[in-house]
């Protein structure tokens, strides 16, 4: 088959050696990551707290339980990851050249 006139990925766009003198970016500073995490945890707590203070328009009765969506979201993701890691992965994972 004919090769395209220009390859889509050009050599000069590839990896450049890391410049050790380069300025550290925002998330290279551990304290920035820590701040971000604390901010996030605060939001999470606030969101759960808000549950007490507003009127819910629920269609199903369980939607009115305290923190239903919070708990469901958390549990769903933990179940998702555990099932994917401990059940699905051993079942379906093969070496990269499995089909070759």
């Amino acid at each position: 088959m004919k090769k395209p006139a220009k390859p889509e990925v050009r050599e000069e766009d590839f990896q450049h050696p890391v410049d050790m003198q380069e300025e550290l970016a925002m998330f290279d500073h551990p304290q920035n990551v820590k701040r971000l995490l604390y901010g996030f945890f605060t939001c999470v707590v606030l969101l759960l707290g808000i549950d007490l203070f507003y009127h819910k328009h629920a269609i199903f009765p369980w939607e009115e339980f305290f923190g239903f969506y919070s708990v469901y979201g958390f549990v769903a993701c933990v179940v998702l990851v555990l099932v994917a890691k401990y059940i699905l992965r051993p079942l379906v994972m093969r070496k990269e050249d499995y089909y070759d």
């Binding site: 890391v18 199903f60 979201g73 990851v81 379906v92």
Partner: protein, 591 residues
Amino acid sequence: MINALPPAVILILGALPVPFLRGKAKAAWMLLLPVVSFLNLLAIPEGTHWTAGFMDYELVFGQVDRLSLIFGYIFHLISFISILYALHVEDDVQNVAGLVYAGAALGVTFAGDFFTLFVFWEMLTISATFLILARRTPAALGAGFRYFMVHVAGGLCLLAGIVLHVQQTGTAAFGFVGLDGLASTLIFIGVGVNCAWPLLHPWLTDAYPEATITGTIFLSAFTTKTAIYVLARAFPGTEELIWIGTAMAAFPIFYAVIENDLRRVLAYSLINQVGFMVVGIGIGTALAINGAVAHAFNDILFKGLLFMTMGAVMYRTGKINATDLGGLYRSMPWTCTFCIVGAASISAFPLFSGFVSKSMVMEAAAHGNLRLVWFVLLFASAGVFHHAGIKIPFFAFFSHDSGLRCKEAPRHMLLAMGIAAVLCIFIGSFPQFLYSLLPFATDYQPYTASHVIAQTQLLFFSALAFTLLLLSGIYPAEIRSVNIDADWFYRKGGRLFYGLADKACNGLNSWGDRVLVKLVPGLLARFFEEPGGNIQKHGVRLLAEATGEGADLGTTEDRIERRSRTAAYPVGGGVLLAVLFLAVMSLLFFL
């Protein structure tokens, strides 16, 4: 008659001169095509246009109503964005295939009869295959071939259904079909292949990550969404669709969590999103159909946006596996920002587009009192945030520093991503523009305090789960691997079939070669070297065996051979014997 052209014509015919244009003229021409085609579409009033007789049936190239129009609008929009994104591509196979592909999707959308629909349906398959083959790697050639085979099989199923359906109803008009009997079931399954239903889906996760960087943007927009359109017109309210859609929404997220190739993660999440639409069509109420169509509209934009950002990463770094990437927020800040917008949209964050359409489907399920479906969809909503919302941006742009320092994406790519990102936020913030285009009138209000808080809680606690699992090391490490899926059956099955066919056919072949080509002609050749001598030798040998007097066999054979080589036969004696024999035979016969 009106002066506009059938919607599919401009893009498909406009693709023809593309290989003959160069440089800026080509770029301008390709960008102009969807714009002109869109203006053309605006000039077409609702109703039925461009009908032509075909045998005893009527072909309709322009069935224009609110349902087909909204798909027409978004297909034009994403065509423009995709072409802008692909401006650097000088490979005309991709340019032509992309335009024809978009045109074919419009053809399906505005087809008013099954024959027209089928022709454009097959055109989708063929042009899409070229978008995959154009990558020109062995993996892409294999994936393209499998894609083609699966869709041809699906197309034949559809065709069989159409033929039966037309036979039974006496009309080829494309409208509500409903699931009853063999004909409609065949149509249903044929459409289901393109819709990537569970077990029929692996063509999607197999082919999209192997297609060219720009080809995948086109692919993610058209095939599954035209199938959604056809389902919405032909099978609204079909209960089976609710369960098919629920399965579609749920199972891919497990795969997405352990998948390493980020474009394949997006392909799985595409199936997950299409699941929401299929559920909506299955429920079939006005709210549900509206939700399905609105979600298709939004998904084309945000899934396109996510594929574009991953394409840009791949274009600049040559890598797409999560194991190879990370820390790219330094060198590709704009792409990173657009990726986060796409991720927020697909996860249905308030103020982003997914929120205003996904909640319609969820609410329709709740009003239908479909409890299990509702729970699974909620699970899928949390899951999609987990893999598409967090995993994609996190592993590509943050995570550990891969040491890759590349340039920011080219300007035209940034522009394309920017347009899609702005639209995602615009639709999410001002949903009434999208709602006014929906097939049914609606006064749906997504922004109630209840909705917003519930959704935000769901997403933040999903993120919390991700954070805690990652910090504690439980989150599955990215591993270079292949995860087998339903495509195992036709990949391995194909190989098994090939192996069996190889054994059977090539075995027969080599036996034929051994016996008929080498053995028999060899024997015949040796025999006819001296036929007379060979017969005599054989006779002498038989005689010797029978009488047990083989003493002078060697000398007799030598004599025979010498005689036959020098052709010193007593011919007269032989002739005399033959004449006598004939005389005796005739006497016996006549007397």
